[in-house]
């Protein structure tokens, strides 16, 4: 009881300190922690948020969204990019923004719980001198801070579709399964083609980006998928959900399947392509994508499965993405 009282006092004084600090200067992330060699035990150590529980970002931490995002059991995702003072992201055409050393990407996953937003985990990608480091942080029950969870975790949640699931927080290595390219960890989300024109303009105007790049073929907005055309919607979905593994140099490179937005070779996209090491994941089917025949396409079969060894993606999926399935099904049916 005494211990709890002391804790309460400590919290009060910490809150006071924050209030004082914010009266004088806006909260700013701690560059030494972002770029140092340590793996901080608590998310709050980075200072990415002026108010972590409310997900209010600190100065130079900019929220963003992706036109078509990666689906994770329907989790709400809050994305932020941190650019340290004195540096700038660089545009590489339509591709991934090149973020400077000292930058960070922060993504919080949340589900609704009794009408309130419950933060589950925050993943951070830190651009340190010797490369990117990916770390998962698990929010505590009190929703006051998140703790480093190197080995990942399972958290019971109810998905937006109403399914009670064990939501999987990936372990540190599993981060690399999706973020690995040619042996290095890299960001996968913030590609210029998958960000809005408006956001790119504002990010550049704020001095965080060297120039807003021209994007000839943006990935369509997910909410607009019905009017985007079946190919653009499906290819955008595959780009955001599958291509980080299914491309040369990434973790599913040995499959020979390349689902990137810019890939235009039908065979590389799986059209009449035979699987190589899909094992029983292929089911009884012969080709990844059979034009006009969604039910004969391994791609859709694996997206529609929850069974280990069959389900795709292999990680971060405890429920089916029925809207994603519908989009890919419509594309294959129309081929």
């Amino acid at each position: 009881m005494i211990r709890r009282a002391i804790l309460a006092l400590a919290l009060l004084s910490a809150a006071g300190a924050v209030a004082q600090a914010s009266a004088s200067a806006p909260a700013v992330p701690d560059n030494a922690v972002v770029t140092g060699n340590e793996l901080p035990a608590n998310l709050s150590a980075f200072g990415f948020f002026a108010d972590g529980p409310a997900q209010i970002p600190a100065a130079r931490v900019t929220p963003y969204r992706l036109n078509t995002p990666l689906w994770s059991d329907g989790a709400e995702k809050l994305r932020f990019v941190y650019i340290p003072d004195g540096s700038q992201a660089k545009a590489e055409g339509e591709n991934l923004l090149q973020l400077p050393v000292g930058a960070a990407l922060i993504k919080t996953f949340a589900f609704q719980d009794h009408g309130k937003r419950r933060l589950i985990e925050t993943r951070v990608l830190l651009h340190r001198t010797d490369g990117w480091v990916a770390l998962p942080y698990l929010w505590n029950a009190e929703q006051t801070d998140a703790k480093l969870a190197l080995a990942g975790a399972r958290v019971p949640v109810v998905s937006p579709a109403g399914e009670a699931i064990e939501y999987r927080v990936p372990n540190k290595n599993q981060c690399k399964e999706c973020h690995g390219l040619n042996g290095a960890v890299i960001p996968i989300g913030p590609k210029a083609r998958n960000l809005s024109r408006d956001w790119l303009d504002r990010f550049a105007a704020a001095g965080m980006l060297d120039a807003a790049p021209a994007v000839a073929h943006p990935v369509p907005l997910w909410e607009d998928r019905a009017k985007a055309g079946s190919e653009a919607a499906a290819r955008g979905y595959l780009e955001a959900n599958c291509a980080h593994c299914h491309q040369p140099g990434a973790s599913a490179s040995n499959s020979g399947l390349d689902l990137r937005w810019e890939q235009d070779d039908p065979h590389a996209l799986g059209i009449m392509k035979r699987p190589v090491a899909a094992g029983r994941g292929a089911g009884s089917l012969l080709f990844d994508v059979v034009p006009g025949k969604p039910s004969e396409s391994i791609l859709l079969h694996r997206m529609g499965s929850l069974e280990g060894g069959v389900a795709m993606p292999e990680l971060g999926k405890a429920t089916l993405d029925h809207e994603g399935l519908a989009v890919v099904e419509r594309w294959i049916a129309g081929l």
Binding site: N37, L150, A151, G152, R154, E166, R168, N171, K172, N173, Q174, K176, E177, G180, G183, P248, S251, S253, N254, G256, H267, K273, R274, P275, V276, A277, A278, G279, R280, G281, A282, G283, S284, L285, L286, I298, E307, G308, G309, V310, E314, L315, A318
Partner: protein
């Protein structure tokens, strides 16, 4: 110690600094074991205690130079029966890793996958699907892929619904003194070069030892492979692969099968009771549109092997007529009759008889127009042998008695 200092020591070659991370089975085993695999530094050992680790997620290792060892392949068991996530039991993505003396049971996908993991040693590792051959078993037992330097020794795999030991898109490979039992394919070397498959016991599979090259993959051009001194017997389990897999086409009772490879030597093996064909040499049978792919077997040599009478119960249409034509058993070596113009598909030691399907074209099937007949193949070239085959000596040096 700071990470920089440790790096400096590692660079200076100070193995005395290596740490041991001991993990015992029991409460929280999943998390403790995964954390040990994450915090290990190059040169460290992760030591698994005896007993059964009950795991519900895949494990992964991404640190170079780590040894993971248990108390024995029957004493330390990683039990994935209740696995909920991941495509394999253990995933290794770092180089110079040694895996030794433990077992993986009932993974939902593959047993151990090592991808882009150069210089890897698997010694006395067992992967078992305990319910026997089933279509619902995972695909591959041991699955090194896109790796340079692979040594698999004294391992055991049974129950894989695709291949027990599968090495793909790799080079400098040895698979030795291992047991592959009750898988669809016992040992499969695919799109790989410089492999030595030696002194293994391959039994109860649908097909025993397969050496394949497939089109449209990042790494092709398989070949320069020796298959020798293996015991390939009684591979009579009906094919239980899900349809669609390339191995779903492997006929029950195939001993050693070579498809679309350049330079393969099969000699000194004991190949008995493989009732479709003790030895089969064929072209890739399907249509393909990859112009860089060569679908034909080239320079395959079947040397002196101990084989029985041959295919007594071949899984072919019209087998009655075939058996009658050949006097009750099909000769031991089956060739589909296809070769690349200007090259020799295969040479066979005169001590072994063969037959040919005499297929007219690649991609064509067995039909009424096909007229099988005795195989006329040249004898092996004296003194010619494959060189540069097998895992590097540095990997052999990591084996322990």
């Amino acid at each position: 110690m700071s990470r920089l200092a440790l790096l400096a020591l590692t660079a200076a070659g100070a193995p005395a600094m290596a740490a041991t991370h001991t993990v015992a089975p029991g409460e929280g085993g999943q998390q403790r074991l995964q954390e040990a695999l994450i915090v290990a530094q190059p040169g460290d050992e992760v030591v698994l205690g005896a007993g059964r680790f009950v795991l519900d997620d895949g494990l992964s290792l991404d640190v170079d130079g780590v040894t993971v060892r248990g108390a024995g392949m029957n004493a330390t068991v990683l039990d994935f029966t209740g696995q909920k996530d991941a495509g394999e039991g253990l995933l290794v993505t770092s180089d110079k890793v040694t895996l030794r003396d433990f077992a993986i049971e009932n993974p939902h996908g593959d047993g151990i996958k090592s991808k882009g993991a150069d210089a890897i040693v698997y010694q006395r590792v067992r992967v078992t699907w305990t319910g026997g051959p089933k279509e619902t078993n995972g695909a591959y037992g041991l699955y090194p892929v896109e790796s340079d330097g692979v040594l698999i020794a004294e391992c055991e795999v049974s129950g894989a619904s695709d291949a027990g030991i599968y090495v793909g898109q790799s080079k400098a490979i040895t698979v030795r003194n291992s047991v592959a039992r009750h898988n669809v394919a016992g040992i499969e070397i695919e799109n790989s070069r410089d492999a030595l498959v030696e002194a293994n016991y391959v039994t109860g599979n649908t097909g025993g030892i397969l050496v394949f090259d497939l089109p449209s993959l990042p790494v092709m051009g398989g070949g320069n492979t020796i298959v020798r001194s293996n015991l390939v017997v009684h591979n009579t389990t009906p094919n239980f692969a899900p349809k669609g897999n390339i191995v779903a086409g492997v006929r029950r009772g195939t001993g050693v099968m070579v498809m679309a490879n350049d330079g393969v030597l099969v000699e000194g093996n004991t190949i008995l009771d493989n009732p479709t064909a003790p030895v089969m040499v064929v072209a890739y049978p399907l249509k393909f549109d990859d112009k860089s792919y060569n679908p034909y077997p080239r320079n395959v040599t079947i040397g002196v092997n101990q084989v029985d009478a041959g295919g007594t119960d071949p899984q072919f249409e019209g087998k009655e007529q075939l058996l009658a034509a050949f006097g009750g058993a099909l000769p031991p070596v089956l060739w589909d009759g296809l070769s690349q113009a200007g090259t020799v598909a295969l040479r066979v030691d005169p001590s072994i008889k063969g037959w040919s399907l005499n297929l007219p074209t690649q991609g064509g099937g067995l039909d009424a127009a096909v007229k099988p007949g005795p195989l006329e193949a040249p004898a092996p070239v004296a003194g010619a042998s494959l060189t540069g085959v097998g895992a590097p000596a540095e990997l052999e040096a990591r084996l322990v008695p």
